[in-house]
Symmetry: C2
Subunit: 375 residues, 2 copies
Amino acid sequence: MSGSFSYQVKARDGRARTGAITTPRGVIRTPAFMPVGTGATVKAMFPEDVAATGADIILGNTYHLMLRPGAERVARLGGLHKFMHWEKPILTDSGGYQVMSLAKLRKITDAGVTFQSHLDGATIELTPERAIEVQCLLGSDIQMVLDECTPFPATREEAKRSLDLSMRWAERSKTAFGTMSADGQALFGIVQGGVYPDLREASARGLIDIGFPGYAVGGLAVGEGQEAMFDMVEVSTAMLPEDQPRYLMGVGTPADMLGAVARGIDMFDCVMPTRSGRHGQAFTWGGKLNLRNACYAEDASPLDPESQCPAARYERAYLHHLIKSGEMLGSMLVTYANVQFYQELMAKAREAIAESRYAAFVEDVQQRYAKGDEA
Amino acid sequence: MSGSFSYQVKARDGRARTGAITTPRGVIRTPAFMPVGTGATVKAMFPEDVAATGADIILGNTYHLMLRPGAERVARLGGLHKFMHWEKPILTDSGGYQVMSLAKLRKITDAGVTFQSHLDGATIELTPERAIEVQCLLGSDIQMVLDECTPFPATREEAKRSLDLSMRWAERSKTAFGTMSADGQALFGIVQGGVYPDLREASARGLIDIGFPGYAVGGLAVGEGQEAMFDMVEVSTAMLPEDQPRYLMGVGTPADMLGAVARGIDMFDCVMPTRSGRHGQAFTWGGKLNLRNACYAEDASPLDPESQCPAARYERAYLHHLIKSGEMLGSMLVTYANVQFYQELMAKAREAIAESRYAAFVEDVQQRYAKGDEA
């Protein structure tokens, strides 16, 4: 594995862009959706099927992996890519978000965060340096600085205090990354600042001063609503360099993603296609369908006649039966079809941007999604 | 779908035989193992992967399917093959066994069995005629007469009474099948009689008098032990026609199956490879492995280097992690590898019989299985 990390914009349509991130493990076409592979597996999918959907990159969760099977163990086994049979790029988060949402007895100081594992209660310290060390042990291609995901709601003062802490951690993360990382790996900074435009701007400026090859927008989709989220995305991307990739963390629905692309975002991750898939909620070119609904019990039509996914050929009546019966195959098929839908959505967005018809494409998807059974 | 049902012995080695059952939906090479597709799915497997393991036929459970999604519904949707994306032959049981093991408030009379669904408590009657009707609605290629699986232990008198009831039901099943079945479908009788050789003989004789194109040996592997099971198989197959297939129901371990083949059995079904797979117990050419064991945590060797299964290429350390974490992918991979192992075991048994070296083959497998971590 050698080579360097770079990003190139290939076309623009308004503020939307399509381009390519080049990494030693392959090219990531943007806008890109990264399926979430929490515990070294995109849940309920064979890795070759994840690749077959067109995913150029997946996301791994540092928090989950450091607890089980452990970063040192993954490193001894040859790194995360080899461990989970995924040769293309992997982005890892810093672990900070899951510490706050899953771990017990969290204590944040300037040094880092101390918490109890949700698995066995062990006391663990996660510092900016350890977050980078873990990500380097995993061998991820794109790594994230440790930050504090500012909760919502937060007062301006709370958001400011949180942002200042994240900024100090970002600087320490970069220093650690400089000593530990391998050739071609990249570290992204994360814009925070809650729903306060001036804090978002200050965050972006501070991170650019430190200097990263890409930037994420964090702390959104945490309850602030789509309008506030889009506002914060717009403020953030307006500050960020045009020639570097931008990643909106933890987002989202098709509408959220398309709206964020229109505001200059290039990368997404979200558990929605996989988690919804396991519970029988399908994303299709005809809208969102809840396969548990009785209306599908004798619906002999395929899940999504417009999808290229082999799983989308299965009849809705069969999927309804599998999901109602709690059969794994139901989760496997709907997850596969959902991840494929998310990839097809990104592929069509890239095409639309390249052909300067992005607004019409978004309009078309919105109309399709008005038709689903849960529009 | 047209054509007829036939069976041809191609080679013998002692009492073991290899041959082929021809059905309108394809040829079943014997000895054959039928993966169990309880609720219209071989649990945790894509149907194309079931086919890729070399399975020529799968089993469906009448009890489960009549309760959910319902036989009439499956018929309206085009039959079980179309419903579950499996074009090759399907054998269905009669539902009687699961009524006794799963349903509540069972009441057996000469007419049939009345029970409460374990799903919603609905009162349902299963008669020999209804069992055939359900199997014809499902459209299965090989159907089974309704019988009472004689429990173990049972006194000679209880076993005799149970056997007599099953014999009357067998006759009614055949009559119903004559009026309802389609061209090329076959109905098998089931030898009962507990662990009493003379009752087994009487059962076989009675069924032959009624006349079926194939015979099952039922009521075994219910706690009587391997020696008694082999004895009853031997007594039963000695009575059965040489030119018709013989199916040992609900069996079993590799050793059980190989021993039964040596005693003239041609077909098997068992939940073992799928159920064990979901819980991380793997059947391999190196023996049986419990992937939950700590010894696999950093074992970088593939699950089974001798298997042709794509799932068996995955490293034991990764499978250990997935199973310990409760990840579906762990169940998916180990199930796939197990079903493939069962098919490879049958394929090698067929080859060994054809080459008159069956005893040496059985000896080799037994030695391999002495090496597993749970020998």
